[in-house]
């Protein structure tokens, strides 16, 4: 359809002889959330990396019509830089025009307002994870691709993820989310896709 943000058609991925998924199709429209479930090793991360363009599927096609934002297992945060510097760099390479005011506001929103000038190496794992959440606030990308966004977060942080997702969807964004634990607030309009069954 015309307003699809992301379309994946009949994609197939295999590691060696083991087929992770085959003939998998998926499309995302504004406001949609697709939750990808499955045990470890079922290909969740590989699928997400295909969707964001890091991995080329063995067969099938993927079309993205908008910018995407990817949060993977690795934080994407340089430990030698402060939270502000990290976000500035990310905004810089993504070509978004996030200014320091919005970056500060985002850091305050995720509870890192006081730590914004500490180098990230000195932050705890949960705080670093919160910094990746601040990326969601700063980035204008309409398509979020999140791999296990709840890892290392406390209850408060989980609620924050739920809020962010809801807000993103009501403003016309869409998200694909891989989890092995249920998202805290699963609003209506969520599709679930289970791999490895």
């Amino acid at each position: 359809m015309e307003d699809d943000l992301l379309v994946a058609e009949n994609i197939r991925c295999a590691v060696g002889d083991r087929v992770l998924f085959d003939e998998l199709s998926l499309s995302l429209q504004p406001g949609e959330l697709v939750e990808i479930r499955g045990p470890n090793g079922s290909g969740k991360s590989t699928l997400l990396r295909c969707l964001v363009g890091l991995h080329e599927p063995d067969a099938g096609e993927i079309h993205r019509t908008v910018d995407s934002l990817y949060v993977g297992h690795r934080s994407g945060i340089c430990g030698r830089l402060t939270p502000i510097e990290n976000l500035r760099w990310l905004a810089g390479i993504a070509g978004s025009n996030a200014d320091d005011v919005s970056i500060r506001a985002a850091l305050g929103h995720v509870g890192l307002g006081d730590a914004r000038h500490d180098v990230c190496d000195s932050l705890s794992a949960g705080q670093q994870r919160r910094l990746t959440l601040a990326r969601l606030l700063v980035s204008p990308a309409p398509l979020w691709i999140l791999d296990e966004p709840l890892t290392a977060l406390d209850d408060d942080g989980r609620d924050l993820v739920g809020d962010l997702l809801t807000r993103h969807r009501t403003t016309g964004g869409a998200a694909v989310c891989a989890t092995h634990q249920a998202l805290p607030t699963v609003p209506a309009g969520t599709h679930a896709l289970t791999l490895g069954s």
């Binding site: 991925c13 590691v15 991360s45 590989t46 990396r49 964001v52 363009g53 890091l54 991995h55 080329e56 995407s68 990817y70 993977g72 297992h73 690795r74 934080s75 994407g76 945060i77 340089c78 430990g79 030698r80 830089l81 510097e85 760099w89 990310l90 810089g92 390479i93 993504a94 070509g95 180098v119």
Partner: protein, 216 residues
């Protein structure tokens, strides 16, 4: 250009925050000069300074993408930097500014220590200024290809040292010729041509190799 400078500034900042990492190539170069002077005696050709600079280069460039791969900033760069080319150039420029450039600047000291003369030192510095960026670009290909192995070290050296040969030949030859008072124009032109060729081709090979390294 915006991508180039964003990446350039960020990498300089990271290097400044980890000062000792940034100083290692230079420290290696000076130490190797001392060791060579002790082991082989003075009165060596300026060509050996080129060899030392080359080793310092390969040791430094070997890990240029390692930290970014570990913390995931490399995959973010691949996703967002459109096109990748200027960002890779920015990264390598920052890397060179802290490895090749200081070595080139300090090479007169090494020349005096090892050859006992200042003749032709200007040409030595000039060849290093033209030659070491070409080495960094070529070495980055090897470094990018081995990112996926999680280790690089000697493997990078084995992969890229054959590619370093032309740069070494012209750089060392020009430095030696300058010391003897022979003409050096041809070697300098050849070096410049090598730099131009690596500037055009290497970043694409590096980008492709980085993309491969992030495949699952």
């Amino acid at each position: 250009m915006r991508l180039f400078f964003t990446q350039f500034r960020r990498d300089l900042l990271v290097a400044v925050r980890s000062r000792s990492d940034a100083a290692n190539p230079l420290a290696f170069f000076v130490l190797a000069t001392v060791l060579l002077g002790l082991g082989a005696g003075a009165e060596l050709a300026p060509g050996v300074i080129w060899v030392l600079a080359l080793f310092a280069n390969v040791l430094a460039v070997e890990g240029v993408f390692r930290r970014d791969d570990d913390d995931g900033t490399l995959e973010q760069l691949l996703i967002h930097a459109q096109p990748l080319f200027p960002a890779v150039m920015g990264k390598l420029a920052a890397h060179w500014a802290l490895s090749g450039l200081p070595v080139a600047v300090l090479s007169p000291v090494a020349a005096i220590m090892l050859t006992g003369s200042t003749t032709g030192v200007g040409v030595l510095v000039l060849t290093l200024c033209i030659g070491t960026p070409a080495l960094t670009l070529l070495g980055a290909i090897g470094s990018a290809l081995t990112v996926a192995t999680g280790r690089g070290g000697l493997l990078v050296a084995v992969l890229v040292l054959p590619f370093y040969v032309p740069v070494l030949i012209f750089g060392a030859s020009a430095s030696t010729a300058a010391m003897l008072g022979d003409p050096v124009a041809f070697q300098l032109l050849a070096l410049a041509a090598l730099l131009a060729a690596s500037l055009t081709a290497a970043p694409f090979a590096v980008g492709k190799a980085l993309a491969i390294s992030q495949e699952y």
